[in-house]
């Protein structure tokens, strides 16, 4: 029982990090006015991409780059459809999930000649550079570098949004694209950049699942985390800090689930234990959401294009 607290903290960070990465990306995209419900697809595709990259290069960092690249590519599909063509953003992003499912399924057979999971690949489970720090060094080095990167990402995003002209441009484009255009801001370019950021960060989240937490890709390993990231965006009311906190909350439910599984002889059937993150997340959303919250970004989901 003594090691329960460190276990929960480590696992909360480990399970919350992929959701937080993806949610921060989704937050940027939605702030610019492009809804992306396909975060699940981005995570799935890049979890697979990262495993492939790591497999071929033998280097996990190359794997991450691959995962991020795939994340950007697949989010660009959504970008083209929803920004340039003005298609229905909710529907278009669902295509990402289908395409990612197909690509990872076909790819598993194509690259690894097996279905269900990939071969074992190089991974990044620990951060040895922190080992020399006194007292907490061992614990800190036991965490994946992704965990530190996600805090860094949060800091950068908060700074960019609050203090830079680009951050202001994102807000303007999301609130009133017409006015933004009149002020000389390239609406489409800003939105494309934001969607690509969302793809890159979703790529980090996906890569973490396959080569941060584990050392292989499995079908179904994303397991709704992309949708939880989406939930974190709405729960955090599009404010990066709160989005991040919400994502970590969802991670905590996963950590609790993992902890209960380690308790010997617990009487709860395993299915109910595995259900915990989903039930708790839904309950948390019920408590925190209020009516009228859903339209914080004025031009969120609105296409701005010559085609309509």
């Amino acid at each position: 029982m003594l090691n329960m607290i460190p276990f929960l903290i480590s696992k909360t960070l480990a399970m919350g990090t992929p959701i937080a990465f993806t949610a921060l990306g989704g937050c940027i995209s939605e702030r610019s006015g492009v809804n992306n419900l396909g975060l699940e697809g981005i995570m799935l595709a890049s979890a697979f991409g990262a495993a492939v990259g790591s497999y071929f290069s033998g280097n996990a960092w190359v794997g991450i780059l691959f995962g991020v690249g795939i994340g950007i590519l697949i989010s660009l599909i959504h970008g083209i459809v929803s920004i340039t063509f003005g298609g229905k953003q909710a529907v278009s992003s669902m295509a990402l999930v289908l395409i990612a499912t197909g690509v990872s399924g076909v790819g598993l057979r194509g690259v690894f000649a097996q279905s269900g999971s990939s071969a074992q690949v190089a991974n990044l489970p620990t951060s040895p550079i922190f080992a020399k720090i006194p007292v907490i060094g061992t614990w800190m080095s036991g965490l994946s570098p992704f965990v530190y990167l996600v805090f860094l990402t949060l800091a950068i995003i908060v700074l960019v949004i609050t203090f830079t002209p680009f951050g202001l441009h994102i807000t303007m484009v999301g609130e009133n694209p017409k006015a933004a255009e009149a002020a000389g801001i390239p609406v489409h370019l800003v939105r494309y950049i934001c969607v690509m950021i969302s793809g890159a960060l979703g790529g980090m989240g996906g890569a973490f699942l396959s080569i941060g937490n584990m050392n292989l890709f499995q079908t179904g390993m994303v397991a709704g985390r992309g949708y939880l990231a989406l939930g974190a965006v709405t729960m955090g009311k599009w404010n990066p800090k709160w989005v991040f906190a919400s994502a970590m909350f969802f991670g905590m439910f996963d950590a609790i689930q993992l902890y209960i599984q380690t308790v010997p002889g617990n009487p709860i059937p395993s299915q109910f234990v595995q259900m915990i993150p989903y039930v708790m997340s839904l309950a948390l959303l019920c408590i925190t959401m209020k009516r009228g919250d859903s339209n914080i970004i004025a031009a969120g989901g609105e296409p701005y294009t010559k085609f309509i």
């Binding site: 395409i99 399924g105 057979r109 194509g110 085609f307």
Partner: protein, 356 residues
């Protein structure tokens, strides 16, 4: 000019856009196969052969289309009322399990038993969708997030019930076989595979078509879907319409699960839906949420699903390739504004040429 615009609207243009999207998707799919150093023609031939190669294969494709028709309808009904129900998968699982339980444990005369079993499935599916609708209306939880989370909850719950309380105790992850009185009658004898489910699916299409187009409820649901604010100002109860649409949607999903159980499996097997629910989205979209169109798009995707098994064993391409095609179809259909824009330009130019 005016005449040109007139001839350019409505059903014809929608069918044209869908056809263009379909062709484009298969072309891009072929390109992907080519880049993977596979032979696209051979792959598509295997897919076709698996789907339509023999009369028996064709009936299997039709049978596979039945849950897809219903899940497409489920997505379309909710979508007409601007509720994006991606929880069809979970609602199907819950409905299928409820049907399996009532079919196996309840004793009723033939005919009545089947009806009660199907109703049990529909009610269970409705209940599961109702939770999501309630969370949306009362607590403003994003309906997509609520329905997807409920999918995972349903998946684990149904798995627990199949492995635990309702297990057949034969050492497998299945419920006991349902009684003969609860089985859907077969329409054709072996080797053909077709049961009464297809009739129910077609009936559901008719009911939903009439509901949407000929009733006040359907009118209100569509009005809410088109313009929530205007509907509210005109005194419609937006929330009630959304809940009703979701409930009907869940009923259709539950019926899909119940038909799978009573028609072909005759019991609930762990993980029996395997994505039928998610396929409802491209199906509804391809048909522009038109109930009659859904029949055709569901049969198309059902055949592809069925054919993909042969493709996997013959060519060695994973059956998940069908998902890529489905995703591409959505992408192209979502680009319909652009397709329409260029089509219009093209048609007007052609008309000007013939005028001159």
């Amino acid at each position: 000019m005016k005449q040109g615009r007139k001839s350019f609207s409505g059903l014809k243009i929608r069918i044209l856009i869908t056809t263009i999207a379909l062709v484009a998707s298969f072309l891009v799919g072929g390109l992907i196969l080519f880049l993977m150093k596979e032979n696209p023609v051979k792959t598509y031939m295997a897919l076709m052969q698996g789907a339509f190669g023999t009369p028996a294969a064709f009936t299997t494709s039709l049978t596979a289309s039945v849950p897809l028709i219903l899940s497409g309808l489920a997505v379309a009904v909710a979508f007409k009322c601007s509720a994006f129900n991606i929880g069809v998968e979970g609602q199907m699982l819950v409905g299928g399990l409820a049907a399996a339980v009532v079919g196996a444990y309840v004793k009723l005369p033939a005919g009545l038993h089947l009806i009660v079993t199907l109703l049990a499935g529909m009610l269970a599916g409705m209940f599961w969708a109702y939770i999501a609708a309630l969370l949306k209306v009362k607590r403003n939880v994003h309906i997509i997030i609520a329905t997807i989370l409920l999918n995972y909850i349903a998946q684990y719950l149904v798995q627990y019930l199949i492995l635990g309380p309702f297990n057949s105790n034969e050492g497998q992850a299945v419920t006991p076989l349902i009684q003969k009185t609860a089985e859907l009658p077969e329409l054709l004898k072996a080797p053909y595979v077709l049961n009464f489910g297809i009739v129910l699916a077609v009936a559901a299409i008719a009911v939903i078509y009439l509901l949407l187009n000929k009733t006040t409820l359907g009118y209100e649901m569509r009005a809410v879907g088109m313009n929530e604010k205007a509907s509210r100002i005109n005194g419609m109860n937006v929330e009630r319409n959304m809940v009703t649409a979701m409930a009907i949607s869940g009923m259709l999903a539950g019926l899909a699960g119940a038909i799978m159980v009573t028609g072909s499996m005759h019991r609930a097997i762990d993980g029996f839906s395997s994505g039928y629910g998610y396929n409802g989205i491209p199906i509804a979209l391809m048909a522009h949420n038109n109930p009659i169109g859904i029949f055709f798009s569901a049969v198309l995707l059902g055949s592809m699903r069925n054919g993909s098994l042969l493709m996997q064993s013959m060519v060695g391409i994973s059956k998940d390739f069908v998902d890529i095609i489905q995703g591409l179809i959505i992408i192209f259909l979502c680009s319909e504004n652009a397709i329409q824009y260029y089509l219009k330009k093209f048609m007007i130019r052609r008309e000007e040429k013939t005028d001159a």
